[in-house]
Subunit: 312 residues, 2 copies
């Protein structure tokens, strides 16, 4: 029997206090049969992203433990950060990995949403493939107005949550839970403190404003580094490869006389996206583009060490 | 107890006859507990490269089965190809993968060499980390003069083999067996039929002639495609990343007014080499360079499906 393995990528509104970041990671590592693959935190965004893999039930346990820590230790009324957010656990996407389907992820999103609403009295919106209305498919539509605008937004029946109370939780706000394909969070840091330049470049590249397919982008200021950032979500790296996104940002920056400091990945990136960049740059023929040792090994082995007890 | 997993990359002097290529792959797939990850064949090189992983004893069985097929079906006296060779199974490197050490690979090289000499009456030279003399560390020194020069070469005591008879096998020649770190076989195909251009570019980039660190290169003609190729082995992709090699070949070709048709990987390439290219091109900060999902998963799971019987 195949074991469906799912990835969860909770985005939590804390990127500064190391003791809270530690409590969040420990909430996951204390649960058996889930694996914390990554924790990325940024103080200016005041946000962290955990990447967790496992099967449905242990994942659910780990995520509820995260909600527990976040709702106790974070208060959105005093939270400041450059990234839009409406909850202490702002958004939790589920992504199908090994032997899992999108339907498995949608089902798990509903289970988590119901449990969060019941246990923490937090309103939950379903998004992405789990959305119950077309206008809730896009996360940014749900999040528009942020925590500060949430009471007013939810007063409109259109924004009644899928689960939980019809008003925000006083300190925890609301939460958005859903299912989606893998996504790459890729930030380009610019050698300037002019946030209007980052915003202009973000407008140029994002799909909504006529830019690159599958690209969402914001321009934000990174106070802690004294620079600005084009913060990008790339939802379809096959159509729009990462180096096309980077090259476009670089060209736009150069035209404004601005240099690139560096770039960063938040969370994890699928190997196929990195291999795709390398294949393009190296002009590899199509037959050579799938010649990665680890990919071949992984196709044999499956992703999870459920049988370490036997193997070792 | 950790299970040492080793990769073997036999290079066999057959790249044309599909029935022999099939017999070679079947020789591997018939053996339990070894996994054939790749078979790359080229008709102009008249050579194929198999990538096999497994533990020591099954690997040994699979490789002896390959020697059996090759010594029956290939006759070097009538073999023609642009790639240097001195045996029907020309060279077999062992590479340490998961929980294996270079010492494990050297030991396995010695076991294979002894068995090949005994069973097939083929002289075997040990190379790389398994070499018994400094001048035998480099494969190209052992192979210089090729099959056609082997009788004369072995008449000199300096080229007495490590195992087996002191004269070549009439049809199978000799074989070179050893242990090494991973290596990338990367070929750049040029839009010209002038093999002297490929040779000149190969000279420019190879370490031996003052070029790039860790690069070996040959210029050869690919009759079946009507073009020429710079055929490259890159032994240290951390010092000399793949796109530096490609960029240098491209620049040298451009200076000669020659275009690049495409490039190819022979065998498999470590993920780190592809991720390294992408990281450089994307200007990723150091912390973001190890953010590959599959790499994180693999560090949990180990590479081999020894426990599929339990898992499924």
């Amino acid at each position: 029997m195949a074991i469906p393995v799912i990835e969860a990528v909770p985005n939590i509104s804390e990127g500064r206090r190391t003791e809270v970041l530690k409590a969040l990671s420990q909430a996951v590592t204390r649960v058996s049969d889930v694996f914390l693959l990554d924790q990325s935190a940024d103080p200016s965004h005041n946000r962290c992203v955990l990447t967790i893999v496992g099967t449905a039930n242990p994942l659910l346990d780990a995520l509820l433990a995260i909600y527990d820590v976040a709702s106790k230790d974070i208060d959105l009324r005093v939270h400041r950060g450059v990234h839009p957010r409406l909850g202490v656990v702002d958004v939790v996407p589920f992504v199908p990995l090994h032997d899992a389907s999108m339907t498995d992820c949608v089902e798990l999103a509903r289970r988590l949403a119901r449990a969060v609403a019941e246990r923490f009295a937090v309103p939950v919106f379903l998004y992405g493939e789990a959305a119950t209305r077309p206008e809730r498919r896009a996360l940014e539509m749900i999040r528009r107005g942020q925590f500060e605008g949430l009471t007013k937004k939810m007063a409109n029946d259109v924004w009644r949550p899928d689960f939980g109370p019809s008003v925000p939780h006083p300190s925890a706000g609301a939460s958005v839970v859903g299912a989606r394909e893998p996504l790459i969070a890729f930030n380009v840091n610019l050698e300037t403190d002019d946030v209007s330049a980052a915003r202009a470049i973000a407008r140029t590249i994002r799909e909504r404003d006529g830019g690159l397919s599958g690209v969402k982008a914001l321009g934000v200021r990174l106070e802690h580094r004294g620079l600005v950032q084009v913060s990008i979500n790339l939802t379809d790296y096959e159509t729009t490869p990462l180096h096309l996104v980077f090259g476009t940002v670089e060209r736009e920056a150069t035209q404004r006389g601005i240099g690139i400091v560096d770039t960063e990945i938040v969370g994890l990136v699928p190997m196929a996206a990195m291999a795709g960049v390398a294949s393009d740059v190296l002009r590899l023929d199509p037959l050579s583009q799938n010649q990665v040792l680890e990919t071949r090994l992984q196709s044999l082995a499956g992703p999870l060490p459920y049988h370490f007890g036997v193997a070792k």
